[in-house]
């Protein structure tokens, strides 16, 4: 615990130092990055220790604030979330050094580092806080620091808009959480989580719904996701990695804690989670397929993955409510494992996108292409991350989803509503998986493969060594976590145990152990076969030098990059098919003559939920406010009339 505290201290001090050294960008970078890395190392040790020992640690210091107490609790569940926090922030900090060097002299780097380190500290605080006030402190600091980072390039109108949507969603979420905490801690003078009493009956459902919406606004599942595809692309890429990789998991953590606090949950909670999760993973993947910007694709993919996690939680709750405990345990374990895995591969992917952004100056898919030649390292690492994101073996994305599938399949053969839940879960996962594969092959293909579509892409340069180092490290972790997933079982079981009861942990470990070992074996076999096939290929060539030529374009000898299949053409059959959901805007040329002239074509993926629900609702509200604006009419006489009338009314009513 002392080390966790130390890591807080290091983070805050280095943030302060980075601010003080803001005049000298190099020094500020050093202060921020060294601080973040040191804090990560300091924080990883106790987290891993707790995960393997399974013994929770608590630290309580006096904190004279009403309702508050400085209570930090590091139990296996917290530790399970803390590990990716520290891994990813540490590596992101390393990445950030090279990434931000690009902005030297143009942007306040000291502030950026300070915000980054405060973001890290606040996330760690959220995962360890044992008191509602302390939790909210971490929660809101997290929102504020990431808000500043989203505004890093505030001269772009899009960034400001993103920041507005983001901070509003955050503010609304925080208020809902306050309400949930108030209901939970109504009877206690100090709002320690340990003193929370889950109310009974309708109040319990109110707490659940408040927590679901409050945490959901951070977790970003559909339909509470609107800020996510705006804010993640706007932030600097190493921050996007952290935001997408772990910050949104704070919402998941909150939901898990709520479920854990609630004890046995009614089945409909599970159904709510399951259906929301299913909607998120399907729509998230589908929207990802329609985006034109690499970071947006990744943001929607995060929505998909949060959906998967939520879906798994829902399956678990339904299972637990029907006393199908091994099934529930598998689903919970799958959810947690996916939390961990997603943080690794999504971090990697955002870093890759950042490298593209920096190397080619844009992340618009239609302006990229051919980067595999120009940035081979980034290309390979990004595509590895993409494979992991599509849950393809032998990468780590598969393991978590596999456990969820396993849970779903176990439930399919049982009776009653669980079977239906299992079918829905499995089917959603399968569909989302297919869509995600389409989305990532499209994004990866359009960005890295083929010929460059623009001058800028043609002149792209490989990113700096530190950036590559971070990505390599993450890619290695993705592969290792995929190949050796059985080794993750012990910490996973501990985390499940601390979240859903020790029995659940054991059951999860028991049910998952054998299949995961087989999956590992399969993965190793696959790697061996790939190596073999590769070696054989060389053997078949037998030293002959392959010939080179132009791409075979059915006899056309001078293909140009413009003739390639672009990202939007790649996804067009699917996006057309799902147009009722996607509602993409587009202009298509109508060819009516025999010799058509120049024509142009454009499509635009719109933020469906924001444009068709949130924005109109906000506009309605503003319209309503304007309707009442005559109250502040300007005429003194009317103002005095208000006073008289109110007074008369009060007298008549109350006397």
């Amino acid at each position: 615990m002392a080390l966790v505290l130390l890591s807080f201290v290091i983070l805050l001090l280095s943030a302060f130092l980075a601010l003080c050294l803001a005049r000298n960008p190099r020094r500020a970078q050093d202060a921020g990055a060294y601080g973040a890395v040191a804090a990560s190392l300091a924080g990883l040790i106790p987290s891993v220790k707790v995960l393997f020992s399974g013994v929770s640690e608590t630290l309580a210091l006096p904190w004279p604030v009403p309702l508050g107490s400085f209570t930090l609790v590091l139990d296996p569940l917290s530790a399970f979330f803390l590990v990716p926090v520290f891994i990813l922030t540490g590596l992101s900090a390393v990445y950030g050094v090279d990434y931000l060097a690009h902005y030297t002299g143009k942007k306040p780097l000291g502030l950026a580092w300070a915000a980054f380190n405060v973001l890290t500290a606040s996330m760690a605080l959220v995962f360890t806080a044992g008191n509602a006030v302390l939790f909210m402190l971490g929660w809101e600091l997290m929102a504020a620091s990431s808000f500043l980072l989203v505004l890093f390039e505030h001269e772009k109108a899009q960034a400001r808009r993103a920041a507005f949507i983001y901070i509003t969603a955050g503010g609304a979420g925080a208020l809902l959480l306050l309400a949930a905490f108030s209901l939970l801690g109504a009877g206690s003078p100090v709002m320690d989580f340990s003193s929370f009493v889950f109310p009974a009956g309708r109040a319990a459902s109110a707490v659940f719904l408040l927590a679901l919406c409050g945490f959901g606004l951070k977790a970003g599942f559909i339909p509470l996701h609107v800020w996510l595809p705006e804010a993640h692309p706007a932030a600097p890429s190493h921050v996007s990695a952290v935001m997408s990789g772990i910050m949104i998991k704070t919402g998941v953590y909150g939901i898990i804690r709520t479920l854990s606090l609630a004890g046995p949950c009614p089945e409909w909670w599970g159904w709510t989670l399951l259906l929301l999760g299913a909607a998120s993973c399907l729509l998230g993947a589908l929207f990802a397929l329609a985006q034109h910007e690499l970071k947006r694709v990744l943001a929607y993919s995060s929505i998909e993955n949060v959906g998967i996690i939520l879906l798994a939680l829902g399956l678990g709750v339904i299972g637990a409510a029907n006393r199908a405990y091994p099934l529930a345990a598998l689903a919970f374990a799958g959810a947690l494992l996916h939390v961990f895995n997603h943080s690794l591969f999504k971090g990697l992917l955002f870093m890759g996108a950042g490298s593209v952004l920096q190397g080619a100056g844009t992340a618009e898919l239609e302006a990229l292409g051919g980067l595999s030649k120009r940035m081979p390292g980034t290309a390979m690492l990004f595509l590895a991350g993409a494979a992991a994101a599509c849950a393809l073996p032998p990468f780590n994305g598969f393991a978590g989803e596999f456990l969820v599938y396993l849970g779903a399949f176990r439930s399919v053969s049982s009776t009653g509503s669980i079977a239906l839940a299992g079918v829905i879960a499995g089917l959603s996962l399968a569909c989302a998986g297919a869509l995600a594969a389409a989305a990532f092959s499209r994004a990866g293909g359009a960005a890295f493969l083929g010929e460059p579509r623009t001058e800028r892409a043609a002149k792209a340069r490989e990113c700096g060594p530190l950036m590559l180092f971070s990505m390599r490290a993450l890619a290695a972790l993705c592969l290792l976590a995929g190949l050796f997933s059985p080794f993750l079982l012990l910490p996973l079981a501990r985390a499940v145990g601390s979240g859903f009861g020790p029995a659940a942990g054991l059951e999860a470990a028991e049910a998952a152990a054998v299949p995961l070992i087989y999956v590992s074996a399969g993965g190793l076999l696959l790697l061996a076969l790939i190596a073999l096939a590769w070696a054989k290929r060389r053997a078949f060539l037998g030293g002959r030098k392959p010939a080179e030529g132009v791409t075979w374009d059915c006899g056309y000898a001078a293909p140009t990059p413009r003739m390639q299949y672009g990202a939007s053409s790649f996804s067009q059959p699917l996006t057309d098919f799902f147009q009722p959901v996607l509602r993409k805007l587009g202009q298509y040329p109508v060819i009516s003559e025999y010799f058509p002239g120049k024509a142009s074509f454009s499509t635009e993926a719109q933020a469906v939920f924001y444009n068709s629900f949130y924005y109109p609702a906000a506009a309605r509200l503003r319209d309503l406010a304007y309707r009442f604006s005559w109250i502040q009419h300007g005429r003194l006489q009317i103002y005095i009339m208000y006073i008289v009338v109110t007074l008369m009314g009060l007298l008549l009513w109350k006397l």
Binding site: P64, V65, E155, F181, S182, L647
Partner: protein
């Protein structure tokens, strides 16, 4: 001690009218503020040191009449002391700000970008004098033990602050002044009616309007009359406090007054009016009418939050925006006082934090105005580029005022919400949350738009040098508010608790 606290600004105020030398007058302002703050701090210290655990009204000391039984006009209890503490601290900041502000105004008299003409300012003598007298009046309000006297002094604050609002000799500020003067005077006239009812309620007991006597005889007061008294007092002081629908003067006055005056109005004057309501509330609660008064406070508190939320959306003037935010916070205070218990504590903490935060925001808005020469939100863009320190404060103020932790305001909002939910006012809590969210969104939009983005230089614009003297007070206030959210010292906690207990009735039950 109290005598000194009241006469010091009084004497200084009168002197300020005579002094011709700008520098000397400004020094007088600053030194009076400092001395006043020192005296207040000393009184608070004495209270904390010697008055531990004292209940409402038994804890008087240092009044004109030291004897316990003879009615004293002026004396401090925890509640009064708490409010004078806020006021004095605020005035200290305001005085330092005002000196820098007046110097800046002298150099570069305000230009109205919208109307495009240069206007004059009121004589500095009048401004400084009124400022000091205003402080004297507020000191007396917080100390007064007699409801009649309280009334007279609150009205005095209105009259003394009217010239302050009309510092810029501009027709819009004149309009604002006129509205302020008339609405508040008419409102307060109703409070006078309330006083009469209060007197009538205690006619048999012979309590008059002396608060301790009323309190002592509370059980014997005539209940229907007391109710009527409360209604009148509530509407009267509520007008001054800016509760909806009596708030109409507030946005006008706050937007047209100089920043320092807006800060004092929002941070100190509204509190003084609130004190009037709280005094009446305490008497009623003691008489067993806590439910009645609590219901009314909650109703109007909620209405104020609602109104503020409605007008926050699409607001065009950033000072008006801040004014509506003050209405919101007054609503939260009323809500907290009405709910009682932990919420009353929250209301007290909220009063302190809001005063400091809002004052800091108004101070900053003065700098924004000096830099941009306009109060129109749409015309202020990219403050970050032109005045970075101001932009930082502006943004910090946004975070604090909307209740982002760590800040006292966050704790206050949380405490009020918790109490509402604990008492089962679910719809109230729901509405409260909804409108807080609307307010948050409305403010976020404006603050982001103003602070960030690219900025096109306006024609003939000189580079802007941020006046440190105007920013430091705001920064100090913000730091205090942040520390309140991180650490509530024991003595302050005690003061807050006994002040909350001073709200009477169930409110005294503590957390």
């Amino acid at each position: 001690m109290i005598t000194l606290m009241m006469t010091l600004p009084l004497a200084a105020g009168v002197t300020a009218f005579i002094i011709r030398n700008d520098k000397a007058r400004r020094a007088l302002l600053q030194w009076t503020a400092r001395l006043h703050f020192l005296l207040t701090a000393l009184t608070v210290w004495m209270h904390v040191r010697y008055g531990m655990g004292l209940n409402l009204f038994s804890g008087y000391f240092g009044g004109l009449s030291p004897r316990d039984h003879a009615p004293a006009w002026f004396a401090y209890d925890a509640l009064g002391l708490f409010f004078i503490g806020i006021t004095s601290l605020l005035f200290l900041g305001a005085a330092h700000y005002a000196v820098a502000y007046l110097a800046a105004e002298k150099r570069d008299p305000g230009e109205d970008a919208d109307a495009g003409f240069i206007f004059n300012n009121a004589p500095e003598t009048v401004f400084t004098g009124c400022l000091l007298l205003f402080l004297a009046a507020m000191t007396a309000v917080t100390a007064s033990r007699n409801m009649g006297l309280l009334w007279a002094l609150v009205e005095a604050t209105t009259l003394l602050s009217a010239p302050l609002i009309y510092f810029h000799r501009h027709k819009r500020s004149l309009e604002a002044t006129w509205k302020y003067l008339l609405i508040c005077s008419v409102g307060i006239a109703l409070a006078l009616m309330g006083n009469l009812f209060l007197g009538a309620a205690g006619l048999k007991t012979g309590a008059g309007l002396d608060l301790p006597a009323l309190f002592y005889n509370a059980a014997a007061l005539d209940k229907p009359l007391l109710k009527a008294a409360f209604l009148f007092l509530f509407v009267g002081y509520g007008t001054k406090m800016g509760l909806s629908p009596f708030h109409t003067w507030l946005p006008d006055a706050h937007s047209e007054a100089p920043a320092v005056v807006s800060a004092l109005l929002s941070g100190a004057l509204l509190n003084c009016a609130f004190l009037g309501i709280l005094r009446a509330n305490a008497v009623c609660a003691e008489a067993g009418l806590a439910d009645f008064t609590g219901g009314i406070l909650m109703l109007f508190g909620f209405l104020s939050i609602l109104t503020a939320a409605l007008f926050m959306l699409g607001q065009r003037d950033y000072k008006r925006l801040l004014a509506y935010s003050s209405i919101e916070h007054m609503g939260i205070l009323a809500l907290g006082a009405g709910l009682g218990g932990g919420a009353a504590f929250g209301a007290m903490l909220g009063a302190l934090s809001h005063s400091l935060t809002k004052a800091g925001l108004f101070f900053t808005s003065g700098v924004v105005l000096a830099s941009e020469k306009t109060k129109r939100i749409a015309d202020v863009r990219g403050l970050w580029r032109r005045a970075p320190a101001t932009a930082v404060l502006w943004l910090a103020g946004f975070f604090l005022i909307t209740g982002m932790p760590p800040s006292g305001i966050f704790l206050a909002k949380f405490l009020v919400l918790k109490e509402a939910i604990r008492l089962g006012h679910y719809w109230l809590a729901g509405g409260y949350l909804f409108f807080l969210a609307v307010l948050f969104a409305g403010m976020a939009k404006v603050f982001i738009a103003m602070t960030f983005g690219e900025r096109e230089a306006k024609a003939g614009e000189k580079p802007f040098e941020e006046p440190r003297g105007m920013l430091v007070p705001a920064a100090v206030f913000f730091v205090i508010v942040v520390s309140l959210g991180l650490y509530l010292p024991g003595w302050l906690n005690m003061l807050l608790e006994s002040a909350a207990a001073g709200l009477g009735g169930a409110a005294g039950a503590g957390l």
